[in-house]
Amino acid sequence: MTNVIETRDLCRTFGSEETEVIALDHVSIDIEEGEFTAIIGPSGSGKTTLLHLIGGLDEPNSGSVMLSGSNIANMNGNQLSDFRRDHIGFIFQAYNLIPVLSAEENIEYIMLLQGVGAAERKKRVREMLAMVELEGLGDRRPAHLSGGQQQRVAVARAMASNPDIILADEPTANLDSKTGISLLDVMRDLNQQRNMTFVFSTHDEKIMERATRLIHLRDGKVELDERK
């Protein structure tokens, strides 16, 4: 199996010299294609920071991130945007859909950025909505969808660009238990059917149960890395 994510000696600190907080301390991990990985640990252990660095949303103080063989430190702003658009799908804890766009349009948006033709976009939107079991709700705006439905739209949006990696930051944190399990099953199915690599940051035991690998972070360091 090939590594789609490789981090080497990742360090990230926040604050000034006197109030410095070490969020990540020399984190080196390899994640293989198709893995369903959960990064777990207590609050402040560096989970979200690690996801942000892997996704190129933030820059490390030192160390490197290689995604599908490309060192993202060598990319400029536009190249990084393009790389994220084509290779990474994001799912956020607070769903973060664009409120003025309908569910369909939120999914379509990323394909528009990719330059996908209108007919193809429509076709893929229908597929994505079916995949996350939201047929018939495509014309609803986020305000008219439940939390679970919004997160499903967010999953569909993350999948719409056919990325290699899905990064999900506590995706079930705002969902009730039943909805969270349902969403996880959707994501697990996608992982198995499409061999997409999923990386979660989570406190959720349900995710931990379903994950094929658990990376334990504590105080910015990898405490334990276990494959099931």
């Binding site: 942000h52 945007s81 799908g89 409120p99 003025v100 379509e108 948006y109 209108a118």
Partner: protein
């Protein structure tokens, strides 16, 4: 299309703010249209005051005559000059004149004045002497008719039918001559300088009294196209100008009015600049408020792969739509108000500018360019004002913005 929908919907997330900003932009456009319309109207009054009152749109005179109105400076070969004017298609009308300084006396008083010998019929095509008559009647060509201004009539203490005597030097012998007239009409042009000093008599009688049969001091002209006399290279001017005579348009005859008109153009530019600056500040403020409200969305958009340039485009597109909405509203109201004031006028009171009296209302004049150029300027400047907020939005750091969503 999705980008359009996104920009459109973003614009109307906060309808009140969008409407207020749009009102600000459209108000600037409306004021600009009205100010420019007013300037055009004022220009019309100024030009009309010069060209239509007495001077005509152009004049043929003997070179040097305009310096101090010396009576011996008569037009060289006036018959040929008139023939050339008559055959020109560009000329709508012309009025031959003699002009001489003299004394005018009544039974009670005496004063100086500028005596114009005019052809009553031809003056109707060139000047407004006939329209300026407030008492009595205009010249009919009968002997001994004379027109004077109201202030002069007051000074001389004369009424219609009273006798007046003009004393002047003859052109041919330079001897003093006198002629009796009876007041047939009293005029009021408006500018006090004209009403106190001008005297009109019939051309043939003036030529007889002054001993200058067939000779003329001035031929005033009106043109079919009012733009023609502004062109110093007009073929007719070239044709009529020689080493003795000169033909000049009103801009050369009244350079101070030309400068005043040029200044009125700057006024529109200055008002426009001030309005645009103020409007730009409003647009910048509104766009920033809109961006701050959506900062996490921009963070998400960047996180999922929207480039900084695409973010910038989105904000600029929103500004463009805002400008277009504002222009539609501004043009409609600007047209309605401009049209209303072009008919009913804006009350300005009485004022005199460079010898031109503006009495009562000032009328706006609408022009096509106001409805093409001004909205384009407003649109471009609104979009330009949005560049700064757009650049700010494009530089939003996703990780910082995403924290606001939590």
């Amino acid at each position: 299309m999705l980008a359009f929908r996104l920009a459109f919907r973003n614009l109307f997330r906060n309808t009140r703010r969008t409407v207020l900003t749009s009102l600000l932009i459209s108000s600037a456009l409306i004021v600009l249209i009205l100010v420019d319309g007013l300037m055009l109207g004022m220009k019309d009054v100024m030009v009309g005051g010069i060209t239509h009152t007495l001077e005509g749109e152009a004049q043929v005179v003997r070179k040097g005559f305009r310096n101090n109105f010396e009576v011996e400076y008569t037009i060289d070969d006036p018959t040929e000059v008139i023939s050339q004017i008559e055959t020109s298609d560009a000329v709508a009308g012309f009025a031959p004149r003699v002009i001489v300084g003299g004394m005018i006396a009544s039974s009670y008083n005496t004063t100086g004045g500028l005596v114009y010998g005019v052809d009553a019929k031809q003056e109707l095509d060139v000047s407004r002497i006939s329209d300026a008559i407030v008492r009595g009647k205009y010249l009919s060509g009968e002997p001994r008719e004379i027109l004077i201004g109201e202030p002069m009539a007051d000074l001389l203490e004369v009424d219609l039918g009273d006798r007046l005597i003009i004393t002047a030097a003859t052109v041919d012998t330079n001897e003093i001559t006198q002629e009796l007239f009876r007041l047939s009409g009293v005029f009021e042009f408006g500018p006090e300088e004209m009403d106190k000093n001008l005297i009109f008599v019939n051309l043939d009688q003036a030529q007889d009294v002054l001993g200058m049969q067939g000779n003329l001091h001035q031929i005033a002209m009106r043109f079919v196209d009012p733009e023609d006399p502004k062109n110093p290279e007009l073929p007719l001017f070239k044709q009529l100008t020689n080493d003795k005579n000169e033909a000049l348009g009103w801009l050369d005859l009244q350079p101070s009015i030309g400068a005043l008109i040029e200044m009125s153009s700057y006024t529109t530019a200055i008002v426009g600049t001030i309005l645009f600056l103020l409007t730009s500040l409003g647009v910048i403020n509104s766009m920033f408020m809109s961006i701050y409200e959506r900062i996490y969305e921009f963070g998400v958009a960047k996180a999922i792969g929207t480039t900084p340039w695409q973010i910038m485009q989105l904000v600029l597109f929103e500004a463009l739509l805002l400008a277009l909405f504002s222009c539609v509203f501004g043009l409609t109201i600007g047209y309605l108000l401009g049209d209303y004031f072009s008919v009913n006028g804006i009350p300005m009171g009485k004022m005199e500018v460079s010898g031109i009296v503006i009495d009562g209302n000032m009328y706006t004049r609408l022009a096509l360019y106001q409805f093409i150029n001004f909205p384009v300027y407003v649109t471009l400047l609104t979009v330009a004002a949005a560049i700064y907020p757009a650049a700010f939005a494009s530089r939003i750091v996703p990780t910082e913005a995403l924290q606001r969503a939590l």
